[in-house]
């Protein structure tokens, strides 16, 4: 999987690159419009992550160019301008997703994986850990072969975990993942807690070890290290 990350802030670029490298993606970077333009022209990428505001041009023009060069490239726009018009314009030009700064790395990873699944790069719609599997095409969850009925939020949270195995998901990032900007994060921790409690209860009915672990004071984590058989 080859990605091109276009972001002019070096520190952010570094953070994004490091995160995505741990996900085993092949990352290339560009810090300005002209460098990005050249790379898009010369090489093929599966996914482009584009900051709209670049010192020497607009990311929107890069989207246009990339779509011309290779229409199958997936494009995720990142922007600090939380403006609707930018978003609409970006999506109209052929971007697949739009994410506003500051975003959580877990969110970016989840978006990239969702995009890859939609483009069917990974070849399968099924993600599984520890006998729990999610069919992302039919939005169904099975645990030990049993179908588990989940609410929309519970499903979204579970998929978010599965997209970020072994990464600590803060309560803030989970809240932002389900409600976006529609909820004040600090007030939503109770709701997150209830959602996860219900989710674990439903999974526990089918599997012995629910891999979702609480990380005290911070959030939760999907622990994929195989459970010790202690019988």
């Amino acid at each position: 999987m080859k990605l091109l990350i276009i972001e002019d802030n070096l520190k952010l670029l570094e953070a994004i690159t490091q995160t995505l490298q741990t996900e085993k993606y092949l990352c290339e970077t560009a810090t300005d419009f002209s460098a990005a333009h050249e790379k898009i022209f010369l090489y093929q990428y599966d996914i482009l992550i584009v900051d709209i505001n670049l010192p020497d041009g607009s990311g929107l023009d890069l989207i246009r160019e990339a779509k011309k060069q290779n229409p199958s490239t997936g494009i995720i726009v990142i922007s600090a301008r939380n403006s609707l018009s930018n978003k609409i314009e970006g999506l109209e030009l052929g971007a697949d997703d739009y994410i506003t700064k500051p975003f959580d790395m877990a969110e970016l990873v989840a978006r990239i994986k969702a995009l890859l699944r939609r483009r069917n790069f990974s070849g399968t719609d099924i993600i599984s850990f520890n006998n729990i599997s999610i069919n992302t095409a039919s939005r169904q969850v099975f645990a030990n072969g049993r179908h588990i009925e989940l609410t929309k939020s519970e499903y979204d949270i579970l998929l978010f975990f599965f997209s970020n195995p072994n990464r600590v998901l803060t309560r803030e990032s989970i809240a932002e993942h389900i409600w976006g900007d529609n909820m004040d994060l600090a007030d939503s921790f109770d709701f997150i807690y209830s959602h996860i409690k219900n989710l674990r209860k439903k999974l526990a009915a089918a599997v012995k070890n629910v891999p979702i672990k609480a990380v005290y004071g911070i959030g939760y984590k999907l622990d994929t290290t195989p459970p010790h058989e202690t019988d």
Binding site: T151, T170, D187, I218
Partner: protein, 420 residues
Amino acid sequence: MDTNSIQPHPMKLIKQTYKYTSLWIIPIIVIGSLFSYFIIEFIAYEEVDEFLTYEMERLVKYHKEYNDLPDFHKLEKVIEDVKYDSPVFKDTLILEPGDNEMVPYRQLWFSINHNGRDFTLVLQHLLLGRDDIARGAFLIISGLALLVVFFTFLSVTRVTGKIWNPFYDTLHKITRFKISEPVPRFSSSDIDEFNALNSTLNVLLKKTTEDYRHNKEFNENASHELQTHLAVIKANAEALLSSPKGNAEELESVRKIYSAATQLSQVQKSLLLLSKINNREFSNNVNLNFEEPLRNVLGLFEETIDIREIELTHSTEPCNVFMDAGLAEVLANNLVKNAVKHNIQKGFISIKLTADMLEIENSGTPHAGNPELLLLRFSKGENGNSGIGLAIVKEICDLYNFKIQYEIKNAIHKITIFFG
């Protein structure tokens, strides 16, 4: 938005001009009438005196020649043995038997010597009545004044429309002016004052739009920089939180950094939204049914409402409002969010949407003090929340002239918005 656009009304200025000009006719008529009265009176005396003098001279001359008076004379009376050294004019009133009225006469008293005896002769002539003169003077002057006024107004009406045209043109353009649009071009005129007005307005509007643009750019740039750096802080904090090496104390510090950065970013987004609403940057107004954003928002919060075991009742009717679709979403979202957030376990939310108002009632905690203050920016709630959500609601209502009411009675909160 120019809901109170003033329709140019050329008659207003002219009517006012007429009104004040008309008042000036009164002194003109009074002074003019007095003046004419005295002139006419003076001329009348002059004429009568002259006539009487001629008559006197004719009689004296005749008497000298023929030592007798002519057959035909106008002597009123002849008084014997009285002598005036020189002729004397006298005014007198004589009763006119015809209409039983005292009528003014002018008399000339003079003496002649006839055969050694003195005789005083009296000539008299009718004078113009003072009331007649007054009436005449008044009628003449009033007629004249009215004639002058009539033709003046006629010409002023004709000319004003033409002269004030550039002024109304300017007025029309500035009432229609929107801050986000380029400064209008005012038509030039051959009147210095209007040109001065137009160029002053032009400078002012240019300055205003420039300030507006700078402010907008500043907001966007500040936001961009801030959010980018917050993204760096969050990304690094997140990496530390995920690293298995940290000890509990360090993780707690990192968590605080992370959550402060998250909150800062949210507050900044809300403030940016507020200032954008304030700057009227959302002007893509359309006719929409408010049921739609309301339904979307209720879908979004459905599970949250379930978790709290909140009883939701809602009745909606089609409600047409003319507003920006994005702001309608924000409005519905912030109202419902507020009702969910400040609710209690097993509480209730009741939503009523009619053709011209939205009423959201919810259980909550008692609140001492004026609930309307909760609509203000940065008013602190009991959890220390900066109430930006409701401030945004208020800002949107202000933008569209919706009336908003916030009441709290026995821990039941009720927000009502009257559209239109």
